[in-house]
Amino acid sequence: MTDFVLASAAPDVMLSHLALYGLAAIVEDGGLDDVRLSWTGGMSPRPVLSAPQATPERIGEIVRRHAAGGDDPDNWPSRQISDREKRALMSPRISVIAEREGWQELQDRRHEVLDRLTGARALLDLRLIAALGEPSYWRLNKQGQRLQDDGAHRMEMQPRNQGSEFVGNRLRPLAAAVAARTAGEVADGLLGRRVRDEVGKDKPDSRTPTGLAAPGPTDNALAWCALWGISQFPIAARTSGFATATGHIGRGTAGYYYVPVWAGRWRTARHRTILASKQLAEYAATGLTPKELGRSAEHSVEAPVAAARQWLADRQVISVVRFPVHRFGSASAPERRAMLGELLKVGPR
């Protein structure tokens, strides 16, 4: 087993967790065998990816190749809504579509992409697209206005000012930046040896973290992996409200994100089962009032928390990190951000 430590990824930052999940998904998809995930010990724990061939060169090359695939003009991130509309077809939140024909065309073009990816067995791409969600044609408010953003994942936090969207304004530039690096440079960025923010031009208020961390220079390879980490958090669309997103509790666009921290080395499949578990969501709600959770006051959460804690402890989950989501900036296009995480320890008291 060779350990690949993301040395710049602090545990109280959401981006660090997603970077680990995304990196694992990318290298597994890229053909690395026997991948395991863990955290180092001590007071400054760091995420670790272990595999027999987890050398910096190998991992750097797989991530670089993956980014180059995302940068390919024929691939789905480069597809546009239509020939006239430049915005990305696979973005979950796009500018408003008013007419029926527009929706029909969007659906047809999306289905074409999905069919092609299914034919190519591009499972990771499909997983990310499914997790990101889609513009919800099915949601209308009482006035009959379309609530187009309700089918999107909460972790997709690209602000919507001036028509910007996630795939075109985040994924595409990052893919280009990472693809332009050498394998060694990609690995250096992931290992925290050198932080380069090509997309954000290394500015102190760079928005490369896309809400997963406070604004600031963020290594583009790390950010690329973190955005792909969203693929591990599936959503369930609903006709009567926001889509329910794995890893998110609380009301609407605010609320809280949560991720588990475990002892020992986990495979990604095991990690996904814990991530999507009801028990993790219940435990993550520890200490929150019904109001903060967006529930009515009758819903008492006391009893399930103890059972959920036991369930998690039995599965070697040692802590749950909960990130409050705050909104900044204008009311029309708020910028959402996962704040510093709070540790909810699972161990015996």
Binding site: P11, W39, G41, G42, M43, S44, P45, P204, D205, A214, G216, V261, Q310, A313, I318, S319, P324, H326, S330, R337, M339, L340, L343, K345, G347, P348, R349
Partner: protein
């Protein structure tokens, strides 16, 4: 000799934020370091550096010492978090492209920093006094610090005396265990902050300084270089006093079989009472005067097998109760020196002169990777009949016996059966767990007790139990109705930690 820096919040509140504006519940050691650096670079002790100021060499040395020596302890008063989610509207003099008149002095809303109310002072303590020049520099720097956190929380800082409430745990793991995780300055912190300050103080080029159609304040980036997390934990409360303070251990030649222990103990008891003679203290005889409230525990007589520590073999143990007076104890200690021979039906047995061992240092430490549990030796007998109304198991009876031995630790209301149930529940609340309480069947059960009401059903049992935080791992004690005469002795039974953890959950 210890050393401490004490911060007295002048308004009784502390306001500060961490990350992107989250409430800081208490000033971390890193914040103290930053405040001292600021005072050193801007206060009366600063020295000229071109047009500006910089810390003098003595202060730099003091700050380096702080980086190399994180506080060993901190003192945290009681705090209460104030309301949340307030927005502060301020005129910031910026051009904002919203509304009709972009040049209006717009009120801009930002999350306000709420704070915490305090009942006392913060302090950072060191067990070792710093070198004299560092101590001098720190004590002269402290009064220069105007506030900790935001400027709305002024403090008076001084080198003074303080007792830490939390201590630094160098072996802590972030994801496991409890405590305060605080950022601590490590080497290079002052240099990183100074460099960041210099970078921020440079006037921007004219082009970058021009106004724009929509402006925002951009706070300077948060410098995280030279920061580490340190865990400060509250020291564990000491275990309550032991029920018996010390043990007089008499080496013996032969072991006493388990089923004869009560009979032998009664014989020893009789011998001791006659040795003390007239006026034998009640803690030994067990005969208390009319109306007197008997204490929880009296002198207990127990027999140890070949595994007995300290004397390397079989022994008779006389446990001296905590509640006995000094006069009573002196009488007993003088009398036992003359104990040589005890007459029993099966023939007399001899004992060697005793050694006295503190009760909380009796048993050896548990082995590495194990947790100390206890086994009743030979058997324990419940103190009462099962209380009426509801279920009552042998495990409950054992928990009740433990609660009666450590009776001073529990305050429960009620009488009779309700009190027994409350005591058993209170013991469970202190971590007492009973595993595998098994009733002993057959034979003459009467040999395990001395005197009982003829109507009582005797239910001796063997059990394995954990005493929670009631006592340390090395304490000798006995439980149950026959604890004073050869029954219910608790001998160590060490379980692997993995198994013990399952049982305590």
């Amino acid at each position: 000799m210890s050393f401490a820096i004490v911060a007295e919040p002048l308004l009784g509140t502390y306001r500060g934020h961490v990350g992107s504006g989250q409430l800081d519940p208490l000033p971390a050691p890193a914040r103290l370091h930053a405040a001292l650096l600021c005072a050193a670079a801007q206060g009366v002790r600063a020295v000229a550096d071109g047009d500006g100021l910089q810390p003098c060499d003595a202060d730099r040395e003091a700050l380096r010492w702080l980086e190399a020596n994180p506080p060993d302890g901190i003192t945290v008063p009681e705090t209460l978090r104030n309301g949340d989610d307030a927005t502060a509207y301020r005129k910031e003099g910026l051009i904002v492209k919203e509304g009709r008149n972009p040049l209006a002095d717009k009120l801009i809303g930002k999350p306000a920093v709420s704070g915490v109310a305090l009942t006392g002072r913060f302090a950072w303590t060191w067990e070792q006094e710093p070198p004299p020049p560092v101590a001098t520099a720190l004590s002269e720097l402290c009064p220069e610090v105007p506030y900790l956190g935001t400027s709305e929380s002024p403090v008076r800082l001084a080198v003074a005396e303080a007792e830490p409430t939390h201590r630094l745990d160098p072996d802590a793991d972030l994801f496991v265990g409890e405590g305060l995780d605080l950022s601590v300055a490590s080497s290079g912190r002052a240099a990183a902050l100074e460099a960041a300050h210099r970078e921020q103080s440079v006037a921007p080029p004219v082009k970058a300084d021009a106004h724009r159609s929509s402006e925002k304040t951009t706070p300077p980036p948060v410098v995280t270089t030279g920061l580490q997390l340190g865990r400060y934990t509250r020291p564990e409360p000491p275990p309550p006093p032991t029920p018996w303070t010390s043990v007089l251990l008499f080496p013996m030649e032969r072991p006493v079989p388990p089923e004869l222990r009560v009979r032998y103990a009664v014989a020893v008891h009789r011998a001791l009472v006659s040795l003390v003679g007239d006026g034998a203290p009640a803690v030994l005889t067990g005969a208390y005067g009319e109306g007197a409230t008997p204490p929880s525990n009296r002198c207990a007589i127990q027999f140890l097998g070949p595994e007995a520590p300290h004397v390397g073999g079989n022994a008779l143990a006389l446990l001296l109760p905590r509640e006995a007076s000094d006069i009573d104890l002196t009488l007993i200690r003088m009398a036992v020196q003359r104990l040589r021979q005890v007459k029993v039906g099966a023939g007399p047995f001899k004992v060697a002169p005793p050694v006295e061992i503190p009760a909380d240092q009796f048993w050896p430490e548990p082995a590495e990777g194990t947790q100390r549990w206890w086994q009743t030796e030979p058997v324990a007998v419940p103190d009462s009949r099962p209380p009426r109304g509801g279920k009552w198991s042998l495990a409950d009876a054992a928990a009740l016996s433990v609660a009666l031995v450590w009776r001073d630790e529990f305050t429960v209301s009620g009488r009779g059966d309700a009190r027994y149930r409350a005591l058993a529940a209170a013991a469970a609340g202190r971590g007492v767990r009973v595993e595998s309480a098994v009733r002993v069947m057959g034979g003459d059960l009467g040999r395990y007790v001395h005197k009982v009401n003829p109507d009582t059903v005797i239910q001796p049992y063997r059990g394995v139990l954990h005493l929670g935080d009631l006592t340390g791992a090395r304490t000798i004690a006995a439980i149950g109705q026959s604890r004073h005469l050869g029954g219910g002795l608790l001998v160590p039974r060490d379980l692997p930690v993995e198994i013990a953890r399952r049982l305590t959950q």
